[in-house]
Every structure is written in structure tokens, then in C-alpha cells.
């Protein structure tokens, strides 16, 4: 078949245009550029999009009240699909667009890939959801902060609860093979074994997205575990607990912050009853938290999704720091974050030297009558 000159010309031209077209025009510096980066499409979009909503709610409110120091806040929303290689593009794009602070990224892997780029440009980054301990503890990323507890802290809370409150001795540790879930599960396993009080009878990963989990449930049953500690997110958690109950396996189910999400209760329904999950202390009765959820419902007509409270809090903390520091310069912002405490949906918080939020109390919740109740 012969090619058509015009079409070829057209496609070549299109190709060339795409190659040289410059991105969105950069504005003059009369706004504060607030970057929001995370997975906004693909399989993990449900963890990234709630953060965009949270930032939008806070920023709309602040802008309606006249902005910060007379400057309006402009959101730069960039998708990284939770992939490290895309995250570096996202980060360079934000830096090129002159971003002042970044809320994100969502996944630890993408965050790790993106951070050196922000660090180089002296831009402060705050993640609502990246829990990998090395992000703060390695000291490699002085520009990184987060409003979520690292995996090891969460695992410690859960393990202590299982050992001291529930007093179980045989525990199955299950994870979803992801960086968050497996990281958490490994810490849990180590802490359990180090305590000398309990035995890990099963340590296995399930395949996320699998159509049926009965085999692993039978295996848990067969292992004689008295409780399951699960590391991962709520979709797999609700599938597993549902399958456990359907197979008449009535042992306790303890999980992490990725599960302490109302969606878990919604999706698992009656099967969620009695399950434990750790999460930031006292968010359900916190007036700020209630207000945030109400605003979300009003604006988007739905319940907020995963990490919404963390993202809402991070946005508040970032904007407060910009306000107090009077600039968006990294050192000034760091100082403000480390000295100013602020009321947020996850508690009254400030940040330590390493970048972890202090004041985000961590408690264990149990699902009772369809709501998470702090124990």
C-alpha cells in the first residue's frame, strides 16, 4: 500500500510539534504554586485522587479568604501513576514550572525516585501516604516531610496490641506484596519474633487483584493461627476478611493504616465487624476532621477516599508554614514546620528533625456497628 504524502506530512509535522511544543506557560511569581503529585490514573488512582480533592478543598477555602499574605494559591496537579520513572518526569515538570511546595507523592517508590530532583531544587515535599521508613530515617532527604506514620511505627502499634491486649501467641502475617504492605508485614514479623512472646506461624503474600482468596484462607486456618496481621490496603483486606468469615474462620484480623479507611467498612460491610486497624488517633471525633468530610461531601458528592485526612492535614501544615515563614524558601519552611504546631484532622501536630509528624497519635481501632471505634 502506498503512503499518502499529505498524511505522512501531517503525522511528521504532528510528531515534530509534539516534540517541540512547550508546556503550559509559566506565570509570573504572584501566586504560590502548590504542587500535587501522585497516582491520578491507572490501578492506584484511588489512592492518589483523594489527595487532590483534599488539597482543593483547603486551597479553595484559603483563596476565598484572600490567600496567604495576599498571594493566591495555584494548584499544579501532576500524575505519576505511582511509577518511579514517571515520577521523575512529574518532579522535573513541577520544578520546571516553578513549584513552591509539593504535596505528594503517594507511593513510597515514586516518592523515592522523585525526591532527589526536589532536593536539588530546594523544594519542600510532604507526603500524605509514603510510609517507607527510609524516607525519613535515612537522612538522605532533608526536604521530605510526611503526615503519616512510617511502616515500623504502625507495625509496632499493631504488634504491641496483639501481644499485650489480645495476648495471642500464634499469628499469621499476610501482606499484598506491595512496598507498603510487605514493608509493614516484615516489620510486624520482626517485632513479633523479637518479642519472644509469639510465633509467626505463616508469613505470605497474596496477589493483589486475584479473583478468589479461599486457598490462602484455608492455609491460614490450617496454620492454626489465632490472629491475622495484614499489611496492605483495604481492597485486599476486605476480600480476605470476607473470605475468612465465609469460610467460617472467625479469628481476629488486625491491619494497618491503609485499611483504616471508611471504604473498608463500606466494602466489607458486615464482614468488617470486629476487625482491628491502626490509624492516627481520634480522627472521627475531631471537629476539623468532621468538617473536612462534610466539605468533601458537599463539593464532590461522595465520601472522601484513602489518605484524605492525611492529605488534608498536610495541606494545612504546608500552607500554615508558608504563612508563618513568610516565604517558600526551604530552610524557612522547615523551621516553621518544626516549630509551629497546627490543628489538623489527624491531630495537633508539628514535625521532627527527620520529617515525621509528631502528635499524630497512633491508636488501634475496631469496627463496631459499622464505624471505627478507638480502643
Amino acid at each position: 500500500m502506498k503512503l499518502n504524502i499529505n498524511r505522512t506530512l501531517f503525522s511528521t509535522a504532528a510528531c515534530f510539534l509534539i516534540a517541540v511544543a512547550t508546556p503550559a506557560l509559566t506565570h509570573a511569581g504572584d501566586t504560590i504554586k502548590f504542587g500535587v503529585a501522585g497516582a491520578h490514573s491507572g490501578d492506584l488512582a484511588s489512592y492518589g485522587l483523594p489527595t487532590v480533592n483534599a488539597a482543593r478543598l483547603v486551597i479553595d477555602k484559603v483563596n476565598a479568604a484572600g490567600g496567604i499574605n495576599g498571594k493566591m494559591i495555584e494548584m499544579l496537579i501532576e500524575d505519576d501513576v505511582c511509577k518511579p520513572e514517571i515520577a521523575t518526569n512529574t518532579a522535573t515538570k513541577l520544578v520546571s514550572d516553578g513549584v513552591d511546595v509539593v504535596l505528594g507523592h503517594i507511593c513510597s517508590g515514586a516518592t523515592k525516585a522523585a525526591l532527589p530532583i526536589y532536593k536539588n531544587a530546594s523544594i519542600l515535599v510532604m507526603s500524605p501516604s509514603a510510609t517507607n521508613p527510609a524516607l525519613t530515617e535515612s537522612g538522605d532527604y532533608p526536604n521530605f516531610f510526611r503526615t503519616i506514620a512510617p511502616d515500623d511505627a504502625q507495625a509496632m502499634v499493631d504488634v504491641k496490641f496483639v501481644l499485650n491486649t489480645l495476648k495471642y501467641t500464634k499469628i499469621a502475617v499476610i501482606h499484598d506484596k506491595g512496598d507498603y504492605g510487605k514493608g509493614f508485614a516484615e516489620f510486624a514479623k520482626t517485632f513479633l519474633e523479637d518479642s519472644g512472646k509469639a510465633e509467626v506461624v505463616l508469613f505470605e503474600g497474596v496477589t493483589p487483584g486475584a479473583v478468589d482468596y479461599s486457598a490462602i484462607v484455608q492455609k491460614i486456618k490450617h496454620s492454626g493461627a489465632e490472629a491475622v496481621i495484614f499489611g496492605g490496603y483495604h481492597p485486599e483486606a476486605s476480600k480476605i476478611i470476607r473470605m475468612m468469615r465465609k469460610k467460617r474462620l472467625k479469628i481476629d484480623f488486625i491491619s494497618d493504616d491503609g485499611v483504616k479507611d471508611n471504604t473498608f467498612i463500606k466494602v466489607a460491610g458486615k464482614y468488617a465487624e470486629g476487625a482491628y486497624a491502626s490509624g492516627p488517633t481520634d480522627t472521627t471525633n475531631n471537629p476539623l476532621s468532621i468538617e473536612a468530610v462534610r466539605a468533601h461531601k458537599e463539593k464532590f458528592n461522595t465520601d472522601p477516599g484513602a489518605f484524605f485526612a492525611n492529605a488534608y492535614s498536610a495541606t494545612l501544615a504546608l500552607l500554615n508554614a508558608i504563612d508563618k515563614a513568610g516565604s517558600t524558601e526551604l530552610e524557612a519552611l522547615k523551621k516553621a514546620l518544626q516549630t509551629e504546631t497546627i490543628d489538623t484532622p489527624v491531630g495537633n501536630i508539628y514535625f521532627d528533625e527527620k520529617g515525621d509528624a509528631i502528635g499524630v497519635g497512633f491508636s488501634v481501632y475496631q469496627v463496631q456497628d459499622g464505624v471505627f471505634v478507638e480502643l
Binding site: M1, I18, A113
Partner: protein
């Protein structure tokens, strides 16, 4: 075109789409609060949108047909512009010089972000050229190409982490390890035909990713390996911008080398054997070509390039984890080859630029980005099934009178 019949047909098609999209577009339920929202406005948008889209498509088709008919009646041999440029050495040299100088000054004109995504695009050009050897030339449908990419990336990450080996040392090692993996994998599976080969390679791709995810002691599992060294520049520590620029030039050079080598392979005894193998395996064997050996060479050469780019990938992102090596990645690389036109080097280059830069520049559409991307992929195939550049006829010059 705007006859009553056409309008009626278009209206019916629009109605069909309104029906089709009705549950997903119109109804939205909240199963907890037990609220149903009927978004009737969406149905109207769909109907009106499809109505005009169809007219647009019909108009374009019509125009195209007319033009083709006109051309046919004029009986002109229309030589595609790219082919004619290639055929004419003078024009070709001018184009090459222009492209090279543009490529050279690119990082000085455009922002770091532009340079950075250009590196990504160049990486996919090389990946595409590698896969092109396997799929385009030898006709072996490989859906697990990403496995070799992962082998290269992890080779660098692990050798760098454990032994502190530098980028330049690992670059050939990574390529060779990936090539070796290609040999090992290819040996048992290359006797499978067509789509069976496709699913087995897909399986191997997944197996490699799963092993990387689960074998913590070896690969550090899903949390990945961070702080991988960027390429060294004679021992000088480069700034971030500097090292991005440096990587950009490395990629330009690598791309030129790859094009050169692939081009030479294509014009060689081996390249002819690959293409013949793609056309007809039995005739090929009857002409004395060792099917298995020829396929294996194609497979492992393709893997070699994937490994090389894998090393660069690890050096570029400085962090890798198994999440980067999913099936979707293989699918994108395959799309580059098919979209560009199987077996065509220039096609692959264009395909890579379109498919990699398109989602980046579609960021303006934000959440509609991937929707548009999927739609464009379908549209391109429907309107240009043979790819952007179809088979180029090679001619040989020699003394015909001897």
C-alpha cells in the same frame, strides 16, 4: 453527505451510544447512603458528541477518498515523502544534519523537564529498536520484553549497591546479562508459534517481576533499591541539571549507535534471514536457514538492547522497584513497534516519540490523559493499520553487466 439518510443514520448511531453508555454515564449510585443520582445531562453530551464526531469522521473519510481517487485518475506514482528523502542521499544528509544539530542544542533551548522527558523518549526509541529486531524483523511476538529491561536495570542497581560498580562498567555487563537471559528463555520457547509464543513470553515477563517482588534477599523486594549512582563523568560530580544533560547526550549517542547497528543488521545476511523467517518459516528452512539459531540470535540481540536501556533507566531514576516492569510496559513498547510500522527503523523512532511524548503533553488534559491516549491508539490503528511507515523496498546497487 448531509442527506436525510445520512443524518438519520448518524442520529441512530448517536442513540445507540446513548443507550450503550446509559448505565455507566447516567446513573451514579451511592450504595452506603443509598442515593441514586441520574445524570441526564451526560446522556445529552454523549448523544450530541457522537453525532458531530461521526460527521467529522465521515467528512474526513470522504475527503480522503476523493483525494485518492483524484490521484489515481491522474495516475501519479506518489512516492511517500520519507521514502523519497531516504532514497535521495543529498536530502537525507541535509535532514540528518538538521536533526542532529537540533538534538545537540535541545537541552540548551528547552527546560530540564523537556530534556528529561526527551531522555525517556530516546530510551523508548532504543527499546523499540531492540524489540523491532524481535517482532518487526524476525516476526516473533514477544509480550515479555520488559523482563530483559528489568534484568538490565537490576544488574546495574545490584552491582552498584553491592560492589560499587560504576555505570560505564555495568553498561556492557547489563546488556550481556539480558542477552544471556534472552538465550536461556528463548531456547525452550522459540519453537512455539505465533500467539503461543506471545503468552509464554508474557508469562516469563511476569515471572521475572514476581521473583523480584518476592525474593527480598536478592532484590530487596517491592521497596526497591534507591540511591543508585548517576553516570560518572570522569570522576566529576555533576549537578542534577548537569547529569540530566549528560544522560541526554549519552542517550543521543546510544540511539545513533543503535540505529547504525540495527540498520547494518537489517542489510546483512542475518537481517535478510530474519525477514524471510517472518514471511515464511517453511520456505526459509528449505533455503537452508537454521530456524532456531536465527530466532535465538534475534531474541537475544533484542534482549541485549533492552538490558542496555535498563541500565540507563536505573541510572536515570536512581531508584527502581518491580512496579516499573509490568506487562503494560511491554505492551507500550510493542505498540511503538506496531504503530511505527513493523520492521521500519524510522517508523519505530516516530512511534516512540508519539507514544511517549503524547501522554506527557496530554498532561494538559489531566485526568482525561489516559482516556485520550487509549482512544488515539485505537484511532491510529484503525486509520493506519500498517503503521506510520510501511515496508520500505530495499534496492541494491551493483554492476549489472558482469
Amino acid at each position: 453527505m448531509f442527506s436525510y439518510k445520512e443524518i438519520k443514520k448518524t442520529a441512530l448511531i448517536s442513540l445507540w451510544f446513548v443507550f450503550l453508555t446509559f448505565p455507566i454515564m447516567v446513573i451514579k449510585v451511592d450504595p452506603i447512603e443509598r442515593i441514586v443520582r441520574w445524570r441526564w445531562d451526560n446522556a445529552i453530551y454523549v448523544g450530541v458528541g457522537i453525532f458531530f464526531t461521526r460527521f467529522l469522521i465521515e467528512y474526513l473519510k470522504d475527503r480522503n477518498n476523493k483525494r485518492q481517487a483524484a490521484k489515481r485518475s491522474a495516475n501519479k506514482e506518489s512516492q511517500p515523502i520519507i521514502h523519497s528523502i531516504i532514497a535521495n542521499p543529498k536530502q537525507r544528509n541535509i535532514v540528518i544534519v538538521v536533526l542532529l544539530s537540533t538534538a545537540f542544542i535541545f537541552p540548551f533551548i528547552f527546560s530540564t523537564y523537556q530534556t528529561n522527558i526527551m531522555i525517556t523518549a530516546l530510551m523508548y526509541v532504543v527499546l523499540g529498536l531492540g524489540l523491532n529486531i524481535v517482532v518487526g524483523m524476525a516476526g516473533l511476538l514477544d509480550l515479555g520484553f520488559v523482563a530483559f529491561y528489568a534484568v538490565g536495570a537490576y544488574s546495574y542497581a545490584l552491582l552498584n549497591y553491592h560492589f560499587g560498580l560504576g555505570f560505564w562498567a555495568v553498561l556492557p555487563i547489563g546488556g550481556c546479562l539480558a542477552g544471556l537471559a534472552g538465550l536461556i528463555l528463548g531456547f525452550p520457547v522459540l519453537r512455539l508459534r505465533g500467539d503461543y509464543l506471545a503468552i509464554v513470553t508474557l508469562g516469563f515477563g511476569e515471572i521475572i517481576r514476581l521473583v523480584l517482588e518476592n525474593w527480598n534477599d536478592f532484590s530487596m523486594g517491592p521497596s526497591g533499591i534507591s540511591n543508585i549512582d548517576r553516570p560518572g563523568f570522569f570522576g566529576i560530580e555533576l549537578s542534577l541539571n548537569g547529569s540530566i544533560m549528560y544522560l541526554y547526550y549519552i542517550m543521543i549517542v546510544l540511539m545513533i549507535i543503535t540505529i547504525f547497528i540495527v540498520n547494518r543488521l537489517q542489510d546483512s545476511r542475518l537481517g535478510r534471514a530474519w525477514i524471510a523467517l517472518r514471511e515464511d518459516e517453511i520456505a526459509c528452512q528449505a533455503m537452508g536457514i537454521d530456524k532456531r539459531k536465527t530466532k535465538l540470535v534475534a531474541f537475544s540481540l533484542g534482549a541485549f538492547w533492552a538490558g542496555i536501556v535498563g541500565v540507563i533507566f536505573a541510572a536515570k531514576t536512581t531508584f527502581i522497584n518491580p512496579a516499573s516492569f509490568t506487562f503494560l510496559e511491554s505492551a507500550i513498547i510493542l505498540s511503538i513497534v506496531v504503530l511505527g510500522g513493523m520492521g521500519s527503523i524510522i517508523g519505530v523512532i516516530m512511534g516512540a516519540f508519539i507514544l511517549i511524548l503524547l501522554p506527557e503533553y496530554l498532561r494538559a488534559f489531566s485526568e482525561y490523559r489516559m482516556l485520550v491516549f487509549g482512544g488515539i491508539l485505537v484511532a491510529m490503528m484503525v486509520f493506519r493499520p500498517q503503521g506510520l511507515i510501511s515496508n520500505i523496498r530495499r534496492t541494491y546497487t551493483f554492476n549489472k553487466d558482469q
